[in-house]
Symmetry: C2
Subunit: 155 residues, 2 copies
């Protein structure tokens, strides 16, 4: 585990070094926000109705998986992804919701730089592949995904 | 393209047939909601600041990719995923944001059942793999992902 020595406002493609690992931030998962998010985007009973959820497949209310990924993105944007060089992301490889996220859980982000590849056709940018994991207060990995990002090069 | 003849309140694993294709619903993407979602979850300048976005990599404000996936989930839950037999999803294989989503875009969901596999260890359930695409008003695919879902069997 190392510090990201380059400030987030001055981070370029070259600053993402394969093998580097970081841990960032923490976010507390709020029951009311679980329900509101799911009412808007994922209105399954085990995300929106605590009473129905109690007898459902998870034995209680759990966050929509898309809510958990959104919380991941917030920590990723606040602490890891360059604020000056991000050119958006083409997508994600293999996303897994590994354990339920429940009201009151506290989640942190763990990232590992997997691979970086400068573009041959557009040498002013490169692709960074990052393994991102959300880990709860019991050190259980609840979400794991491989995120792709395009970043401007410094030089 | 076929209709899903079984009502969403009475749909089980067996009702998802590999090769079946469906189109569902439509959602209009609202500028204010793009900004609010991104302020909460993905505060990159091209998602939250129309003025900065105008000179940014996308030439204007675009929705967070996680906002687009959440809108996909809403149509998926409203029209496709069983309301009685869903046991949650283990994850997603290969998600790609293929084109920017801008304020005023109208998105529809296109799904194809790719594969279904009854569990050997728990025969009361099975796994359904679905290709989901969000398509805009110009028939451009803006998001493509393969979603995995566990569903109860009818028998």
């Amino acid at each position: 585990m190392s510090d990201f020595s380059v400030p987030i406002d001055d981070r370029y493609f070259e600053d993402y070094v394969p093998g580097a690992k970081y841990e960032f931030g923490s976010v507390k998962v709020d029951e009311q926000r679980i329900i509101e998010f799911a009412e808007e985007f994922d209105p399954q009973s085990f995300h929106v109705d605590a009473e129905a959820a109690a007898t459902g497949p998870f034995g209680g209310l759990i966050a929509s998986g898309w809510h958990t990924t959104a919380l991941m993105m917030r920590l990723f944007a606040d602490h890891y992804l360059s604020k000056n060089a991000s050119l958006g992301g083409p997508g994600v490889d293999e996303l897994r919701w590994l354990a339920p996220v429940r009201p009151g859980d506290v989640l942190g982000l763990r990232v590992t730089v997997l691979e970086t590849r400068r573009s041959e056709s557009k040498p002013d940018r490169g692709l960074v592949r990052t393994l991102a994991e959300m880990v709860n207060q019991d050190d259980v990995v609840v979400l794991r995904l491989t995120v792709l990002n395009f970043l401007k090069t410094r030089s």
